[in-house]
């Protein structure tokens, strides 16, 4: 060392260590005064040799003897060359901005931390965290760290640029010259090394062969490094190219995470291999578990559409006691088959015009789905009235059973009608001189034109050849009928009027008698008429009384009158007064005396509080309960050979009587054939399935049967409108023509996704979504 040339600054004065601040001031002052060669006799001072910009472009030589402190040459400038004679403490060259720093010995932890430019040559090994957080600024050459020996742990963490050369000569850790966990987080730069290593962060860095350009650079710089540390004799040892390797940072796109098998590979090669084919439950099930999409077809659909055509009865049919499939008649009308629509009724009732058209309260219309939505019901009376022209189809020969029908009213006619049409021989016996029971004898002609009823009775007579009128029967007669016939049907009605047990009761005339005599003109009711019992029969009596000249007509009742419909309307139109509650005390010559003491003047007093059957003529084998004949669900009495229908069983409407006749006939036919009668009727459709939005809610009056037909929603029976075909988003529905006029709408399961649009759009409620069959 040529001490002569160097300006000496000591870190001690009077054997006392001076503060780092004072030493720094002395060095800066010396440089400011033009000193360019300075020797510092260090005594552990911090940061010696850095920040000496005052020397400008002039080279500055700093020699450090003694014990340099931490951060030797920190923030060094490019003009500065620092040579440390001996080992160095932590952080040599920290934030180095260009100085060349030579350490003739080992350096401790943190060498070159955050170094950006300059060079650090270490003649020994270095401690932990060397070359960490270094950078390369594009304006300058990359920083370099040369280490003759080995590096400590965590070398090169976060390294963001620069070149490190680790020579592995006289290394402190010769078996692993890169230390433990080097290069974690390295993003740029490269590290040349010579000797064994114990791994590095493979996700951040990559081992590469030394390229020719790299080797050329190394060869050029070996001499410089060895010269700086005074070990030129090592050149040949260093210059063995095959012993060198380089680790360079991976680029951002090149980073690798730990290489692992994919889940699929793992499933195949580990999971299924250990568990067996099919994995976890492959031994327990052979169900296909492969993934499926959310929208599926075929057997994978959760719901499937079902075309439930005519599975459910429409409300009109279901509520008609006679059971007429009204909607079918409207279908025929829509199809332009008016004649068939009219004739069809005769299969169900012998009185399609009289009852459906005039006398029935039309339960079908009350139940009509349209009605429940506040729309006008389809008007069956129009079709009913047209049915006067209905033609009886050709009758089969009466070759079946012989059946006696006692009673020629609507129930008796209905059962005989049905039996005859089925090829049985039905004979009617009636006490009256007229066929038709109440309809002929009691119901005022104001409610049904005489010609209509007569035309229908005529049609009935054509069908029923054997009618015996004015036949009063006794028990013995009925026993004889039993003997002469296979079956007897009792349809004698309720003919005994109920009478009030009050004084003067003999002055009352029973409503039925009154109505019958009114019809044949054999009664004059006088000016004042009081009718006890303001039901529909009472109303009929009022209308007839008015027709026969009565002026003041009063109907009284113990409660709010139960009369309704046309009967009530006609009575009110006739000027009848309704009074209630009125309790009759007695009947006098003047009229009716009430419990209140009031006297209602009357020339005629009619009693119309109902009728009860006359069952005296029935054989003892027929059980009677509370005045009515007991029957089972097939209208069979306790005598299996005898059936009973109509008011003798239960008071009801005309349609109830006609329906009972039809059902009893059906049961009787089955029983006659030795079968158990099938009385099940289709359940009524849930009207929520029907879409009335297709119809005009303002339609309150129908111009004719055609408009009625088009306005019928055809609940439960396909209208063949094709809306389902159109709405289906997958085109899965198609119309299939079957034999004759039959057709069906079918679903292609391979196209259908089970959306239910068909069910939602169907005006008639035919399509239903059913849960698909379970897959397991």
């Amino acid at each position: 060392m040529d001490d002569q040339q160097y300006y000496l600054i000591s870190g001690r004065q009077n054997d006392i260590r001076i503060e780092s601040r004072v030493l720094e001031e002395q060095i800066q002052e010396a440089v400011a005064k033009g000193r360019r060669k300075i020797q510092v006799e260090a005594f552990g001072q911090h940061g010696i040799g850095g920040r000496l910009w005052r020397a400008g472009d002039k080279p500055l030589e700093i020699r450090v003897t003694g014990h340099s402190g931490q951060r030797l040459g920190s923030m060094g400038y490019a003009n500065t060359r620092i040579e440390n004679f001996g080992p160095a403490s932590d952080d040599v060259g920290w934030l180095n901005g260009g100085a060349e720093i030579i350490v003739h010995g080992h350096a401790a932890n943190g060498v070159a931390n955050a170094m950006a430019q300059g060079k650090i040559y270490v003649a020994g090994s270095i401690g932990a965290r060397g070359m960490t957080m270094t950078k390369q600024n594009p304006r300058f050459a990359p920083p370099e760290l040369w280490v003759l020996g080995s590096v400590g742990d965590y070398f090169g963490e976060f390294m963001a640029g620069g070149i490190a050369v680790i020579c592995g000569i006289e290394a402190q850790t010769p078996d692993n010259i890169l230390g433990y966990r080097p290069l974690v987080g390295m993003v740029s730069g490269k590290v040349f090394f010579r000797g064994p290593h114990g791994g590095y962060s493979k996700s951040d860095a990559r081992l590469m062969p030394v390229s020719d350009a790299d080797w050329q650079w190394l060869e050029e710089n070996f001499s410089r490094f060895l010269g700086a540390i005074g070990r030129v004799e090592l050149y040949d040892e260093l210059a063995e190219r095959e012993r060198w390797q380089v680790v360079a940072a991976r680029g951002p796109m090149d980073k690798v995470v730990r290489k692992t098998r994919s889940i699929s590979e793992f499933r195949q090669s580990a999971w299924n291999r250990e568990l067996g084919p099919g994995g976890l439950v492959g031994d327990l099930t052979d169900l296909d578990m492969s993934p499926i999409p959310v929208i599926v077809t075929g057997e994978l659909r959760r719901f499937v559409p079902v075309w439930e055509n005519r599975v459910y009865a429409p409300p009109c049919e279901a509520s008609c006691p006679t059971g007429i499939p009204v909607h079918e008649r409207w279908r025929l009308v829509r199809e332009g088959r008016m004649d068939e629509a009219v004739d069809m009724a005769l299969a169900y009732t012998p009185f399609p015009a009289s009852v459906c058209g005039y006398l029935c309260p039309n339960l079908c219309m009350q139940a009509c789905t349209r009605h429940s939505s506040g729309m006008a019901s389809v008007d069956i009376t129009q079709l009913g009235k047209s049915s006067i022209s209905a033609k009886v189809s050709e009758l089969p020969p009466a070759a079946g059973k012989k059946i006696a029908v006692v009673g020629g009213g609507p129930a008796g006619i209905s059962v005989a009608w049905q039996l005859r049409r089925a090829g049985h021989d039905a004979v009617i016996y009636d006490m009256s001189d007229k066929l038709g029971g109440k309809m002929s004898r009691l119901i005022p002609r104001s409610r049904i034109p005489a010609d209509v009823l007569e035309a229908e009775l005529e049609r009935i007579r054509e069908v029923l050849a054997h009618v015996h009128l004015q036949q009063e029967l006794t028990k013995d007669d009925v026993e004889q009928l039993k003997a002469d016939h296979d079956f007897v049907v009792i349809a004698a009605g309720a003919t005994k009027p109920r009478i009030l047990p009050v004084a003067g009761k003999e002055r009352m005339i029973a409503a039925n008698d009154f109505l019958a005599r009114a019809q044949d003109g054999s009664i004059d009711p006088g000016k004042n008429v009081v009718i006890i019992g303001a039901g529909n029969v009472g109303c009929d009596a009022a209308v007839e009384a008015r027709r026969l000249g009565a002026v003041d007509i009063t109907l009284i009742d113990v409660q709010e009158p139960a009369s309704f419909g046309q009967e009530r309307q006609h009575a009110e139109a006739a000027g009848a007064k309704f009074l209630w509650p009125c309790f009759t005390r007695q009947i006098t010559e003047e009229g009716v005396v009430l419990e209140s003491g009031e006297m209602l003047a009357a020339d005629t007093v009619v009693i119309s509080i109902g009728d009860v059957p006359d069952t005296d003529f029935l054989p003892d084998s027929v059980k009677v309960e509370k005045g009515f004949v007991r029957v089972n669900e097939y209208f069979q009495t306790t005598d299996p050979q005898i059936f009973a229908i109509g008011d003798i069983v239960r008071p009801g409407l005309l349609t109830d009587a006609i329906g009972a006749g039809r059902k009893a006939a059906a049961a009787l036919r089955e029983i006659a054939e030795g079968k158990r009668p099938a009385m099940d009727r289709a359940h009524m459709i849930d009207t929520a399935r029907v879409s009335l939005e297709y119809f005009d809610p303002r339609q309150s009056v129908f111009s004719g049967v055609e408009q009625c037909g088009t306005s019928c929603a055809s609940c439960g029976a396909c209208r063949d409108c094709g809306i389902c075909e159109s709405i289906c988003p997958r085109g899965a529905i198609s119309r299939k023509q079957l034999e004759g006029k039959d057709y069906e709408y079918a679903v292609d399961p391979d196209l259908c996704i089970g959306c239910g649009f068909c069910a939602g759009a169907c005006p008639c409620g035919i399509w239903a979504m059913r849960e698909n069959d379970p897959l397991h």
Partner: protein
């Protein structure tokens, strides 16, 4: 409803429903996918009448009145078909034309889910978004004080111990004397809690197990999973993967005869045995797997006839006191595997948790205690049990831990906390908070279902139909038509993703504490909360 139909007390309008369907006529292409996918048939094709009145006062022409119809999607209002807000319709809609949205007021439906006297039952969660765990902050961030670590660069060993740990001197004594040393497992502190084969669909269960196996074998993370009470597939029992499995035994003992039959053929011991006494979601309510879920597969695994409902009683029937219940069950379960497998009970968090814990401290075999808080999930429970029964996990766990500290046994009986951890998505933060309050690890269920299988449930009454087998994601269904929507491999992948990201987050929390090789169990000086009462109750710092 039909226009003129009678209304009943339970007749509801769309306005009364918790979820309402917004449908755009302009955007809809009537493709049918929404109605096809709706799990509860809450929507259907509707026919709508559109009346157009065309009047012009000065026009010579007659005023017009035209009825047209159009078709569109209609929400059903019958309580039995109420929209559950799952949003599958929105998922399949190609035109973004449909979406359920939450009613802006308390719905009326809730008052009508008692039709026929049947109290409401459902699956899912409490639907209570708030909770104390999310409010806990990690306030001890060491920069210069402790050796702060870098979560991304440093090595971490995120492990915990499951098993009874002897005091060192006792341990050494037994080593010297060749005495019995309780088995202890070193496991990952995030455990997949008990969800049975049956409650979950086959691909969900297999996916979870496969993901756990992958984490162990490919990622080196010793994750374990509880079977829940529904047995364990025979193949898994006889595989090497059993070592990652905690077999649960509960009051129904379903599948346990199959497990007993498998013991001689087991290649490895299971991770542990969990004795379930209670479930946080529905304390005091038993389990019920409805008959329609009990198909051939479930029947085989549970060892029961198919097509019957399977109730698990709320209590084990032959146990009449804590001492007897705990001692008897723990002994039996240890014996089954020759005292080589840790056995611990799982209870609902309750004000009586401490009594159970104190009993365990006197039982030399108890391997730990799992405590399940009120925010836990369930496949099926009575609404009232879900919403109103139970105890929050934080204070229950804290009380137990501090009690162990008083006894000097905090390092001997590990506590595992569960119930609502990560219910708002903050899995690692919630887990770390519980660990620092004293848990050795946490159990999660719902979070896994959401992260790994895309469960649609949320804390706002969405979906919640786990109990009826119609899970639109196929997670809790036994119907192949639904569960085949779920791919076991996808589930496994998501389990892996979830654990790896959880691991990163947990490191981010513990690294500033200078912890890298041992969990900061009970390190409650790292916690703070801006709620004085909670801070006092949990004995953590009150920070504002």
């Amino acid at each position: 409803m039909q226009a003129n139909a009678k209304i009943t007390p339970s007749t509801l309008s769309v306005k009364d429903h918790p979820w309402r369907i917004a449908w755009s006529r302009d955007k809809c292409s009537l493709c049918g996918q929404c109605t096809a996918v709706c799990p509860v048939n809450a929507i259907e094709l509707g026919v709508f009448r559109k009346r157009i009145v065309d009047v012009e006062i000065h026009a010579a022409a007659q005023p017009g009145n035209v009825n047209k119809v159009y078709h569109g999607i209609r929400q059903r209002t019958d309580a039995a078909y109420h929209c559950i807000g799952c949003g599958m319709c929105a998922m399949v809609c190609p035109n973004d034309a449909i979406m359920p949205y939450h009613n802006d007021e308390a719905d009326k439906l809730r008052f009508h889910l008692s039709q026929g006297g049947q109290a409401e039952r459902r699956g899912g969660r409490r639907n209570a978004p708030a909770g104390i765990l999310d409010q806990i902050k990690f306030t001890r961030i060491s920069m210069l004080t402790d050796p702060a670590l870098d979560a991304g660069r440093h090595e971490f060993e995120m492990r915990t111990l499951l098993g009874r740990l002897l005091p060192p001197e006792e341990n050494m004594k037994r080593v010297r004397e060749h005495g019995w040393i309780p088995p202890v497992r070193e496991i990952y502190p995030l455990i997949i809690g008990g969800m049975s084969f049956g409650a979950l669909s086959p691909p969900m269960w297999e996916g979870l197990q496969m993901g756990v196996a992958y984490l162990n074998e490919e990622m080196g993370m010793p994750v374990c999973i509880s079977t829940g009470e529904g047995g364990c597939p025979p193949r898994l029992l006889r595989s090497r993967f059993l070592r990652y499995v905690i077999l649960q035994i509960a009051s129904g003992y379903f599948g346990w005869d199959e497990i007993i039959h498998a013991i001689p053929e087991m290649k490895v011991d299971p991770c542990a045995i969990e004795i379930k006494y209670g479930q946080g979601a529905k304390p005091g309510d038993g389990g019920l797997l409805m008959w329609h879920k009990v198909n051939d597969l479930i029947a085989a695994i549970r060892g029961v006839p198919k097509g019957v409902s399977l109730p698990s009683p709320p209590t084990h029937q032959t146990k009449y006191s804590i001492e007897e219940a705990v001692a008897k069950m723990i002994q039996s379960m240890y014996m089954a595997w020759g005292f080589r497998v840790p056995v611990y009970p799982k209870i609902s968090a309750t004000s009586t948790s401490l009594a159970v814990l104190n009993n365990l401290t006197r039982n030399p075999y108890a391997a730990g205690l799992a405590i399940d808080g009120e925010d836990g999930g369930t496949g099926a429970a009575y609404n009232v049990s879900l919403d109103h029964m139970g105890h929050p996990i934080a204070s229950a766990l804290r009380d137990c831990y501090l009690n162990l500290v008083r006894l000097g046994q905090q390092n001997e009986i590990p506590l595992f906390a569960g119930g609502g951890i990560g219910k708002n998505g903050n899995l690692a933060a919630n887990a770390a908070a519980l660990i620092m309050l004293g848990a050795s690890g946490v159990q999660v269920g719902k979070y896994v279902m959401q992260a790994a299988a895309g469960c649609l449930g949320s804390e706002t009454r969405r979906c919640n139909i786990c109990n009826i087998g119609l899970c639109p994601k196929g997670i809790t269904s036994q119907d192949p038509r639904l569960y085949r929507r779920l791919d076991a491999e996808d589930v496994a992948q998501r389990v892996v993703d979830m654990y790896v990201s959880f691991d990163t987050e947990l490191r981010k929390i513990v690294a500033p504490l200078g912890r890298s090789t041992s969990l900061p169990i009970g390190m409650s000086d790292a916690l703070g909360i801006a709620d004085k009462a909670a801070a006092d109750r949990l004995q953590i710092q009150y920070v504002v």
